[in-house]
């Protein structure tokens, strides 16, 4: 896979996706974590939209809140300490923040599914793959108040799911325990579990970070294939721009709990407008120009217990002015489909 061809294919996919109906709309979502030291404003007014079948990447440093955002979609952040301050997350027309836990369970796995970062810790070490999958399948039926499939039926469906993600000998796998599988196999198992309920939205939180480079490419290709074949919408979280460029039509850059820039992937890679996004791209080494040295962004991410006033990026920004220190920049459109939250963009 060369980055150039992927950039183009992602672009055309983006064009195809645009007219579809909105699946997910996050509006001014604020989430705080309460602790003994005070309240951390982990997500500070996040707004995002995702159409059915669309692919969106979220890129940002560790601690910028991207995983917390991903978990918010399934309401998996433990509360307390997590506390929703304001905003809404509309999924298929309903605000999931207002749903009861029982109603929320009908969405988990069925409408929204999640693939996690480290397949070692996200699979139960003491249970065989079979019961882990059938429990999820039967649980989804129970939440939807449908007749539960028998254990044998659920097992047959689990085996078919394992086969559909390219795993050989699914029957033997069902009887295996996680420690008997390789990292790539475990991640495929987790992806198969996520597909069990035939969801409309797949949230993938750093799905390849814990894997070997060769396996990374296979897993990304698998996810891309599933998205294409099943018409899934994909929200892919990563700190790796390369991973997102390879699988997502659009990308949002996150910094300290806010979206600072959002655009078609190719557009953002060619011409980032936000100083942070520019810094992020400048930090990527360019193999075609060995003399070009990657530059890091000076400073470090702010303490979210006491975030800087105004633009959260201003202490590290070369362009910062008095206005940036006082007024928080809102996401505004600078070109069709290209939004930036910066006073200077």
């Amino acid at each position: 896979m060369s980055p150039g061809s992927d950039g183009r294919s992602a672009d055309t996919r983006g064009e195809l996706n645009r007219p579809r109906e909105t699946l997910l709309a996050i509006t001014d979502y604020r989430l705080a974590f309460d602790s003994f030291d005070g309240t951390a404003q982990v997500l500070d007014g996040v707004s995002l939209q995702l159409a059915a079948g669309e692919t969106l990447g979220i890129v940002g440093e560790t601690g910028c809140g991207k995983s917390v955002l991903a978990r918010s979609l399934l309401r998996l952040n433990p509360a307390p300490p997590a506390r929703v301050v304001s905003g809404s997350i509309q999924f298929e027309g309903t605000d999931i923040l207002t749903l009861s836990e029982r109603e929320m369970r009908r969405l988990r796995g069925r409408r929204i599914a999640m693939v996690f970062q480290d397949p070692v810790s996200y699979l139960n070490p003491l249970l065989a793959i079979g019961p882990q999958m059938t429990d999820a399948l039967r649980g989804q039926h129970a939440a939807a108040r449908e007749a539960q499939p028998s254990r044998a039926e659920a097992r047959a469906r689990a085996a078919a799911l394992l086969a559909s993600v390219g795993l050989a000998e699914p029957e033997r796998l069902l009887a295996s325990h996680p420690h008997q599988l390789s990292g790539g196999m475990r991640q495929r198992v987790l992806i198969a579990m996520a597909l069990a309920g035939n969801p409309a939205l797949l949230v993938a939180d750093e799905p390849t970070t814990a894997l070997d480079v060769t396996v990374q490419a296979q897993v990304l290709a698998l996810i891309a294939g599933l998205v294409r074949d099943r018409g899934l919408a994909l929200l892919l979280i990563s700190h790796d721009l390369g991973v997102i460029a390879a699988s997502c039509a659009r990308v949002a850059v996150m910094y300290a709990g806010t979206i600072v820039e959002e655009a078609a992937t190719a557009t953002l890679l060619r011409g980032p407008r936000h100083p942070y996004a520019q810094g992020l791209l400048a930090a990527v080494p360019d193999l075609d120009r060995p003399d070009h040295r990657p530059r890091g962004i000076a400073g470090s991410i702010p303490n979210l217990l006491r975030p800087p006033p105004g633009c959260r990026f201003h202490p590290r920004c070369a362009l910062a002015t008095e206005r940036c220190r006082v007024e928080k920049p809102l996401l505004r459109q600078v070109a069709p489909g290209h939004n930036v939250a910066c006073h200077h963009a």
Binding site: L76, D118, L123, L127, R138, G139, A143, H177, A194, G197
Partner: protein
């Protein structure tokens, strides 16, 4: 729970090795009890000859019991007898210690089994509930209960229960295994609850249950308390684990998350404390059996020790030690049944 691994060739070798090790430990225990019995400041020959015996009668008793032989020879004879299942003779009563143990041990075993059942059936669910309602009133309540369970001296608590349930309320008998008027059945296992069931005698079952409940509750309390606390803290950890988040995201129903996915993981450390508590329980029946006049090995050991009669004390010590070793072995095997990673190691 999968127990087929027990018949594995590797497993058989492992069990054989553990049993051999237990044999070595048992020999050490035999040596230790022998030394302690012989350094204790009491003369078994004088005891055997009776309080009014003259010097020559004492010497005659000494020869009769072989106590005039050099210590190494006495030791060899003792070990030789033990190897044939012969624990020697009580010098006070002249009865075979082995036969005495066969009569008293089932009573103690029955008491411990009932007490451990109470500990497990109450301790594990309460531990789970405390973890689910961590830092809420239920958790505080079980914490107070557990701390007092460990801190209350059993003889004091036993007397309190006797006062309350036997003297004031008159619901339960004060002490003993059966009423004086009741003819104990011809023993099958020697455990009254089990024998009455085997003989199909519900009235006898109810009567012996009434007698066993108070001593079993007192004996179970420290065990219950530590099972509760360990299970609670392990459950708190496991409920936070990534694999629980993932199983929730995939749609597994809450009760299975708690009672299967998390509990299985929490049971590993809980099992260790159960094994230890079982060992301690056997040796701590002394106080409870004394308070409740329960005719078990604890009472037998105490009355023999007071009389300076050491063969029974040595016999009881061996039984208690053997029980401890067996408990450890069973716990190790259960670990294997619970944790597939250990089976493959």
């Amino acid at each position: 729970m999968n127990l087929t691994f027990l018949f594995d060739r590797v497993m058989v070798a492992y069990v054989a090795r553990r049993l051999a090790l237990a044999g070595v430990m048992l020999f050490g225990l035999v040596c230790l009890t022998f030394v302690i019995a012989n350094v204790a400041p009491s003369d078994p020959a004088a005891l055997a000859a009776g309080p009014d015996a003259g010097h020559s009668q004492i010497e005659q008793a000494r020869r009769e019991y072989g106590l005039d032989k050099p210590l190494p020879e006495q030791f060899l004879r003792y070990v030789g007898d033990l190897a044939q299942g012969e624990f020697g003779r009580s010098v006070a009563t002249g009865r075979s210690v082995g036969r005495d143990l066969a009569r008293y041990f089932p009573a103690t075993l029955e008491l411990c089994l009932v007490a451990m059942s109470i500990g497990l059936l109450v301790g594990i669910p309460l531990g789970m509930l405390s973890a689910l309602f961590k830092d809420r009133w239920l958790d505080h309540l079980t914490r107070i209960f557990a701390v007092s369970g460990i801190a209350l001296p059993p003889f004091w608590f036993g007397l309190l229960l006797q006062l309350g349930f036997a003297t004031w309320l008159g619901w339960l008998p004060t002490s003993g295994r059966l009423g004086v008027a009741t003819e104990p059945p011809e023993p099958i296992t020697g455990m009254l609850l089990l024998d009455s069931l085997l003989r199909g005698d519900p009235a006898l079952f109810a009567e012996s249950a009434g007698y066993i409940i108070l001593p079993a509750v007192v004996l179970s309390l420290p065990c219950l308390a530590s099972i509760l606390r360990v299970n609670r803290s392990e459950m708190v950890e496991c409920l936070r684990a990534d694999y629980i988040t993932a199983a929730r995201a995939h749609g597994t129903v809450p009760w299975r998350l708690v009672a299967v996915h998390a509990l299985k993981n929490a049971m590993l450390p809980t099992l260790a404390i159960i094994g230890l508590r079982w060992g301690w329980m056997m040796s701590s029946t002394v106080l409870v059996e004394t308070v409740f006049d329960w005719p078990g090995t604890g009472l037998y050991a105490v009355s023999s020790a007071i009389a300076g009669d050491f063969k029974p004390v040595m016999g009881v010590t061996l039984i208690v030690g053997l029980n401890f070793m067996l408990a450890n072995l069973v716990v190790d095997l259960l670990y294997g049944a619970l944790d597939p990673r250990l089976r493959d190691a």
